[in-house]
C-alpha cells in the first residue's frame, strides 16, 4: 500500500463490512422486535417489568452484579418425550405396543413416528418437548434465553462470567422477598458456603424503637415492635438483640428486580411443554 488513502480504503472495507454485519443487520432484524404470544396461549410476552423492578435493574447495573452473574440460559438441544394420554378402546394392544417402543429422549421425527403408531393402535399420545443441557438440568430455566426475553430491559446485561449462578429465572427459583433480601444482606445466611460478598450498605441496622405501638391497647407497657419491613433471619444470623435490619429503597428495588426475573414461558422460537 502506497499511501494513506489506500489504508483508509482498507479500513473502510473491512470495518464497514463487519459494521453492516454485526451492528446494522441485528438492529434491523431485532431492533423492531415486538411482543409475541406465549405458545398455545393468547398471553402476551414479554410484559414490561413493574416500576420498582425496573428501578432495581438500575441498582443491579450500578453495583455491577453482572460482573459475577449471567442472565442467559444455554440449551444443548431439545428432546421429545412421548406420553401416553389415554389407552383408548384397546388398552392391551396399546400397552403391548408401548412396552416395545422407546418413548423418552427422542428426536422429533422418531417421536412423531412413535405417536403415530400409538394412535394407529387406538391410543392417544402427546409429545412433550423438553429442553436439554447442563443449564436446564441445573434448574436455571426451562428453555434457552432468546432475544424476546430482553426486549424491555435497558441496559441489557447478559454477563460473561459465572462466578455465581445464572439469574435469568432467579425469581422463579427463589420467589420469597425476604429470602432475597436476607441473601443480599448476608449471603451465607441463606446459602451455606456462599462466596458472594455481602451488600450490607443497601440496608440499615437500627435499634428497634418503641414507636411500634402494639396493636391491642391492653394498658400494659408497649413492647417495642420490629418494623414490618425488618428482615426475618434464619437462626443465628440476625443482628444483635434489640436491633433490626431494614432494607433501604435500593435493596427493595433490587430484590423486586430479582423476583421479576422469570423468563420461563414457552415461545415459538424456544418451545417446551409446560
Amino acid at each position: 500500500m502506497k499511501n494513506g488513502a489506500a489504508v483508509s480504503l482498507a479500513v473502510f472495507i473491512a470495518l464497514g463490512l463487519s459494521w453492516c454485519g454485526f451492528v446494522l443487520a441485528p438492529a434491523r432484524q431485532l431492533g423492531g422486535a415486538k411482543q409475541t404470544t406465549v405458545l398455545n396461549s393468547s398471553e402476551i410476552y414479554p410484559v414490561g417489568r413493574p416500576g420498582e423492578a425496573n428501578q432495581g435493574l438500575q441498582v443491579y447495573r450500578a453495583n455491577g452484579c453482572a460482573a459475577c452473574h449471567t442472565e442467559q440460559v444455554r440449551q444443548g438441544g431439545v428432546r421429545c418425550d412421548v406420553v401416553l394420554a389415554s389407552a383408548g378402546k384397546n388398552p392391551v394392544a396399546v400397552s403391548n405396543l408401548v412396552s416395545t417402543l422407546k418413548l423418552n429422549g427422542l428426536a422429533k421425527e422418531d417421536a412423531d413416528a412413535a405417536s403415530d403408531k400409538i394412535i394407529a393402535a387406538g391410543g392417544k399420545a402427546e409429545i412433550h418437548i423438553v429442553a436439554t443441557g447442563p443449564d436446564i438440568a441445573r434448574g436455571w430455566g426451562m428453555r434457552q434465553s432468546i432475544a424476546e426475553d430482553y426486549l424491555y430491559d435497558y441496559p441489557v446485561q447478559p454477563g460473561s462470567l459465572r462466578v455465581g449462578p445464572d439469574l435469568m429465572n432467579v425469581g422463579g427459583r427463589e420467589p420469597d422477598m425476604n429470602w432475597q433480601l436476607v441473601h443480599l444482606y448476608a449471603p451465607a445466611a441463606e446459602v451455606k458456603g456462599s462466596t458472594m460478598p455481602p451488600y450490607r450498605y443497601l440496608f440499615e441496622v437500627r435499634k428497634i424503637s418503641g414507636t411500634g405501638v402494639s396493636p391491642v391497647q391492653t394498658g400494659e407497657t408497649p413492647v417495642p415492635q420490629p418494623s414490618p419491613d425488618a428482615l426475618v433471619f434464619p437462626e443465628g444470623f440476625g443482628p444483635a438483640a434489640g436491633y433490626e435490619v431494614v432494607p433501604k429503597p435500593e435493596a427493595r428495588e433490587l430484590a423486586a428486580y430479582l423476583l421479576s426475573l422469570r423468563a420461563n414461558v414457552p415461545l415459538y422460537s424456544a418451545p417446551f411443554t409446560q
Binding site: V23, L30, A33, R61, Q72
Partner: protein, 537 residues
C-alpha cells in the same frame, strides 16, 4: 523492495548523516505531549492494579471493604479493567504512535500543543469515568462502562490526537509507507468509528433489547482484539527490527497480516451461547478459525526477524554489555541517538525483551480467543475465568508489555535524559513477566476446571465457586507482582519527568540570571545546555 530500503527507505551513509542531524529536533518535538500522555498513563496503570488487587482480595475474604459501596466487587473490577485499558493502554499507544509517526515521517511532530491538550483531556475523561463507575454511574455495558461525561472527553481527545498524527503524517518526507504506518493509520480510523458506534447506539439513542448486547460484543472485540492488535503490532513491527538489528521480514508478510487481521478479526467476538440469531455466533466461529492466519503470519514475521539477530533470550537477565552491537544497516538515524544516549545498547535490551514477550503473548492470547470461538470448546470455557485470563493476557501480556518496551526505548531519546533507575527496567520486565504468568495460567486452568464443573449439573453451585478459589488466590500473587512492576515503571516515568522539569527550571533560572546587558548572548544558555548534554552522555 530491496533489503536496503526496508526501513524508511534507503539508509545509505549520506542519508544517515542527514537524518542524524534531524533526529534530535524530531524527538524533542514529542517531548511535552509524550510526557503528558505517559505520565497520566503510569498513574492509571498503578491505580488500575491497586483496584484489581482490591477486587482479587475479595476472593480471600468476601467481607473485605464490604461496607463501602464504592469498593464493592462489581464496581472495583470494571474500574480496574477500564483503568488498564483506557487509562494506560490507549494513551500509551497514542504516545508511541505520535512518536513513530514523527520518526517515520522524519519531521517534527505537528501541533504538539494540541497533543498536550488532548492528553490532559483524555486523562480528565478517564478520571471522570472511573469515579463514575465507582459511584455507581457505570453504563452497564462491558468495556463501555464510562458514563457519558467521560466518554465524550475521551472521544474528543482521541480526535485531537488523530489530527495531530495525521498532520505529521501529511508532512512526511518519505512518501513510501512502512508497515507500521498501515497498522497505526488503520488504528486511528478504527477507534473513532467503533467508539462512536458503541456510545451512540448504546447510550445516546439506545437500540432495543438484545441488540445492545450484540453491539457491545462487536465493540469490545474490535477494541480489545483488533484495535489493540493493530496498534501493538504496528509498534512491534517498528521496534522489533530496530531492536533485533535486522530489517522486518518481510513487508509482504506484514501486509498479509494486516489484511487478514482487519478482515477476519473484526468478525470475532460474538460468544457461542449468546441469545442472538444463530447466524451471528456461527459467523464469529468461522471468523475465529480464520483468525488463525494472521496469528501464524505474525509468528513467521517475529521468527524470521529475530532469528540470527545474535541476541539470545538470556540477554534479558544478563548484563548490559552482552547486548549484540546493532548492525548499522538497520536504521541509521538511530545510530546517532544510540551513540549519544546508550553506547552499549543499554536502553535497547529490556525493550527487546518486552517487545518479544508482547508478541509471544499476542499469539498465545489470540489462540485462546480462537479456542473460545470454537463451539465445542466454548461449551466448557464460556462464562468461566478462561475469558478473563484471555483478556488479561491480551491487555497486559501483549499490549502493555509491548508499550513498556516501546516507552523504555523512546522516552529517554525524547526527553534527552537517561532513565533515573535504569536497573529497574530490567527488574520490571522480570517481575511483570512472572506476574502475568501467575495471573493468567491459574485463571486459565481454573477456568477449565470451573467450566467442567458447570457443565456437570450434579456439582452444586457453591462447590463450583469454591473449586475456583485456589486458582483465584494464586492469581492474587500475580496481581501483586504486576502492581510491583507497575510501580517500578511509574517510578522511572515520574523520575524522568522530574529530571526534565528540574532541567527546565535550571534553564529558566539561567536565562533569568543571565545579565540582561548581553542580550545577544543567549547562546551562552544554549552552550551550557549543550555542555549538560555532553555530561549526560
Amino acid at each position: 523492495m530491496s533489503a536496503k530500503e526496508t526501513f524508511t527507505g534507503g539508509a545509505s551513509v549520506p542519508a544517515s548523516r542527514l537524518v542524524s542531524s534531524l533526529a534530535p529536533p524530531i524527538d524533542r518535538s514529542c517531548c511535552v505531549p509524550l510526557l503528558a500522555l505517559f505520565g497520566g498513563a503510569a498513574l492509571w496503570l498503578v491505580a488500575g492494579s491497586v483496584l484489581a488487587m482490591i477486587a482479587s482480595i475479595k476472593f480471600h475474604a468476601p467481607d473485605f471493604l464490604g461496607d463501602c459501596p464504592w469498593l464493592t466487587y462489581g464496581r472495583v473490577q470494571p474500574a480496574a479493567d477500564n483503568a488498564l485499558l483506557y487509562g494506560f493502554c490507549v494513551p500509551a499507544a497514542l504516545g508511541v504512535m505520535l512518536w513513530i509517526f514523527a520518526r517515520l515521517s522524519r519531521t517534527p511532530l505537528c501541533l504538539p500543543f494540541v497533543a498536550v491538550a488532548a492528553a490532559n483531556l483524555w486523562h480528565l475523561g478517564v478520571l471522570i469515568g472511573l469515579v463514575g463507575i465507582l459511584t455507581g454511574d457505570s453504563t452497564g455495558f462491558a468495556w463501555l462502562e464510562f458514563p457519558r461525561g467521560g466518554s465524550v472527553l475521551l472521544f474528543t481527545a482521541f480526535l485531537l490526537i488523530a489530527i495531530c498524527a495525521t498532520a505529521t503524517f501529511g508532512q512526511r518526507r518519505e512518501r513510501e509507507l512502512y508497515p507500521s504506518h498501515w497498522f497505526l493509520l488503520a488504528a486511528l480510523l478504527w477507534f473513532p468509528w467503533i467508539y462512536a458506534t458503541g456510545n451512540l447506539f448504546l447510550l445516546a439513542w439506545p437500540v432495543r433489547g438484545v441488540v445492545q448486547a450484540a453491539i457491545d460484543y462487536w465493540f469490545a472485540n474490535n477494541l480489545l482484539f483488533v484495535w489493540l492488535g493493530l496498534t501493538g503490532l504496528g509498534a512491534a513491527f517498528y521496534f522489533l527490527p530496530k531492536l533485533a538489528g535486522r530489517p522486518l521480514q518481510s513487508h509482504y508478510l506484514a501486509l498479509f497480516a494486516f489484511w487478514t487481521l482487519i478482515l477476519f478479526g473484526t468478525w470475532c467476538g460474538i460468544p457461542q451461547g449468546a441469545p442472538l440469531p444463530v447466524w451471528m455466533p456461527v459467523l464469529s466461529a468461522v471468523a475465529g478459525s480464520l483468525t488463525f492466519v494472521p496469528v501464524v503470519v505474525v509468528f513467521a514475521i517475529t521468527w524470521k526477524t529475530s532469528r540470527g539477530s545474535g541476541a539470545s533470550s538470556l540477554e534479558c537477565g544478563g548484563d548490559a554489555h552482552v547486548a549484540a552491537p546493532v548492525r548499522s544497516d538497520c536504521l541509521a538515524q538511530d545510530e546517532a541517538t544510540r551513540a549519544s544516549h546508550s553506547p552499549d545498547g543499554n536502553g535497547a535490551s529490556p525493550s527487546r525483551c518486552f517487545v518479544r514477550f508482547g508478541l509471544a503473548a499476542f499469539m498465545l492470547s489470540s489462540l485462546m480467543l480462537i479456542a473460545m470461538a470454537c463451539p465445542q470448546i466454548s461449551r466448557v470455557t464460556e462464562f468461566t475465568w478462561f475469558g478473563p485470563a484471555q483478556t488479561q493476557l491480551q491487555l497486559y501480556g501483549f499490549f502493555a508489555m509491548t508499550m513498556f518496551g516501546a516507552i523504555y526505548y523512546l522516552l529517554p531519546r525524547v526527553v534527552g535524559f537517561e532513565w533515573p533507575f535504569p536497573k529497574l527496567t530490567r527488574a520490571h520486565f522480570w517481575i511483570s513477566m512472572l506476574g502475568i504468568l501467575l495471573l493468567v495460567v491459574p485463571l486459565a486452568i481454573g477456568g477449565v476446571v470451573q467450566g467442567l464443573k458447570w457443565v456437570n449439573p450434579n456439582v452444586a453451585v457453591v462447590d463450583v465457586s469454591v473449586a475456583t478459589l485456589p486458582f483465584l488466590r494464586v492469581s492474587t500473587t500475580g496481581l501483586l507482582l504486576i502492581l510491583l512492576g507497575n510501580l517500578l515503571f511509574a517510578l522511572n516515568i515520574f523520575g524522568l519527568t522530574l529530571r526534565w522539569k528540574l532541567a527546565l527550571l535550571k534553564k529558566a533560572i539561567a536565562i533569568v540570571k543571565a545579565p540582561t546587558a548581553t542580550e545577544g548572548d543567549t547562546g551562552s544558555a544554549f552552550a551550557s545546555l549543550r555542555r549538560d548534554k555532553e555530561v549526560q552522555s
